[in-house]
Symmetry: C2
Subunit: 342 residues, 2 copies
């Protein structure tokens, strides 16, 4: 599968937004990163002032991971499907955070180990245990890529003007860490994190699984689709395609933590230039996430020691984007307000 | 003037909120600082789960400064009154940010150089030029303290459940820097910042003014009221009293940048223990603000390179507090949602 060429946000609109910032009743630059976020959204939309954000959307990609059976997580795999139901009934953290951020949440079951009612794009149940076998077959990786692209198209066609790709899946920080290690040339011990909160014995098992999977990933590191097939899973593969297609469709994205970040590294390989359409919502406590931010050369908006996934860190940052846009649309200019300039 | 004794937020409620966090459908601690913010608000309110925030209020303390005539700012003093009108008509950055944060804005003219329609608590016009004379008389400093206390009482009595003290006043980072230097034992060059965006010549004049005012402040550093009288102004004095009284009235506060921070250092002197009722909304680019955060031993929620004042940094952080509270009130427990624990 090929993605269309990604073109960058509109540079002339970005400049117009910068010029507008200089006319608003504040010293130029005094709102710091909020000003840069506003000019970026304007450039993404291709108009200044930008349109207020009408439909921020959080898509939670749910999937189980065969490697979880190796004892790499603090929680049992059954939690993935239980949390899908929790997202659907509105009781999870992402639902609450999205409510405050005026965003809506959609959960898609890409590869949960049991069947759920969110399976319209489902590729398979769970994934191969990546320390010993491929996560997906060639057909499955292609299906997951097509699903991620289709989900982005559905959302953009339904009016989404800001996207978050969240994750849910017991064991999913293990494939994410492997992908980050493979693409940044990092040793296993430097990417392994505490995930949902693992103890020292689980940490050792997780590190061993990452080491073994990384050995399997090495020969295919230069081929993003083969890498996804070998050590990702349908959820992360779909996220990567979703992030790539969001850029193709000129729709801004707030990246979340390490799973979203691993998918982003792959998306940039699948659709070079896609990263210009993304901003990093936060820095997770997962060590591999900092490697992602360095590789993408991104400064996160928030550093709140979050490590939940679900899109929670990105969604917590959405009000900053809403504010950044409204500053450009709603503030008085020096001329409007009769305020003297410097 | 004396403040009533400040007692800390309710420790038993804080513990109850921590226990509640362990029951919600997420790994304990996975929401990082959002969890700590939620337990803090619960402890401030004395109940768990906490009440949703109903009336966050931003009070902008406006005042001019005699030292501005020495050429320490990029903008003329007339801008202070013009911005008061801009706040009242809703065109300033703080109005826009507060709108997104579901907060309302009140501007109080403590000492603007001309008369405005926000002068119910006005103490005087402008202040003495602090490099050569006292900012206020003894009567004026007492009036400003009483006004700040009264404003906090008015707001709490009107139902405010989260407070921000913002600032507006051309030249006001000069007295703020002097106060911070005096209370932290810092040299003038280490506290002087670019304020609204000053050039090198203005920076030299500002540094000289801070040096001269600091020399005048030294003999009274141990006496907070005398220090405010000598080198603050009615606006910063009222802010200090407001922050102290908010703590007396057990109402949580989000601190803003360097002016709010300087007032906070004084408030902690006026009402020891008040800082337990405050959280640092952001880290401003003003160098003196980092000294404030160190002195108060606070980690700011946001680091967005903001330097506007008006309460803008604090208000940008309000959605984080809203989210923190709603997580405790709205999320499902493991038992409710039928989700397996670790």
């Amino acid at each position: 599968m090929e993605f269309d060429v990604v073109s960058p946000p509109d540079e002339s609109v970005r400049q117009a937004a910068e010029e507008r910032h200089a006319q608003l009743t504040k010293p130029l630059g005094a709102l710091g990163l909020l000003e840069e976020l506003g000019t970026w959204i304007a450039a993404c939309q291709g108009q200044c002032p930008p349109r207020p954000l009408q439909r921020p959307r959080v898509i939670v990609f749910a999937g189980d991971h065969g490697v979880a059976a190796k004892g790499v997580s603090a929680y049992p795999s059954e939690v993935t499907a239980q949390m899908v139901a929790n997202f659907q009934s509105g009781g999870a953290a992402i639902n609450v955070l999205a409510g405050i951020a005026s965003a809506t949440v959609r959960v898609v079951d890409m590869s949960v180990a049991v069947d759920t009612t969110a399976g319209d794009h489902k590729v398979r149940r769970s994934s191969g245990a990546i320390d010993t076998e491929d996560a997906l077959t060639e057909d499955e990786v292609q299906a997951a890529l097509a699903a991620g692209r289709a989900i982005a198209d559905e959302e953009v066609d339904s009016g989404a003007d800001l996207l978050v790709a969240g994750d849910m899946g017991i064991g999913n920080t293990t494939p994410a860490a492997v992908l980050v290690a493979a693409l940044t040339g990092t040793e296993p011990v430097a990417v392994v994190g505490r995930g949902t909160g693992i103890d020292d014995n689980t940490w050792m098992r997780k590190t061993a699984a990452i080491r073994d999977a990384l050995r399997r990933a090495k020969p295919v590191t230069a081929d993003p689709v083969a890498l996804l097939r070998t050590v990702a899973g349908a959820d992360i593969t779909a996220m990567a395609a979703f992030l790539a297609q969001a850029a193709v469709r000129r729709t801004p994205v707030v990246l979340d933590g390490v799973v979203s970040g691993a998918a982003a590294l792959l998306a940039e390989e699948l659709a070079p230039g896609a990263r210009a359409w993304w901003v990093a919502g936060h820095r997770s406590t997962e060590p591999a996430h900092t490697l992602v931010l360095e590789q993408l050369d991104m400064t996160p908006l928030l550093e709140l020691n979050m490590r939940l996934g679900e899109g929670s860190g990105a969604t917590t940052a959405i009000p900053l984007l809403t504010m950044a846009v409204q500053v450009l649309t709603d503030m008085a200019t020096f001329a409007d307000a009769g305020v003297s300039g410097p």
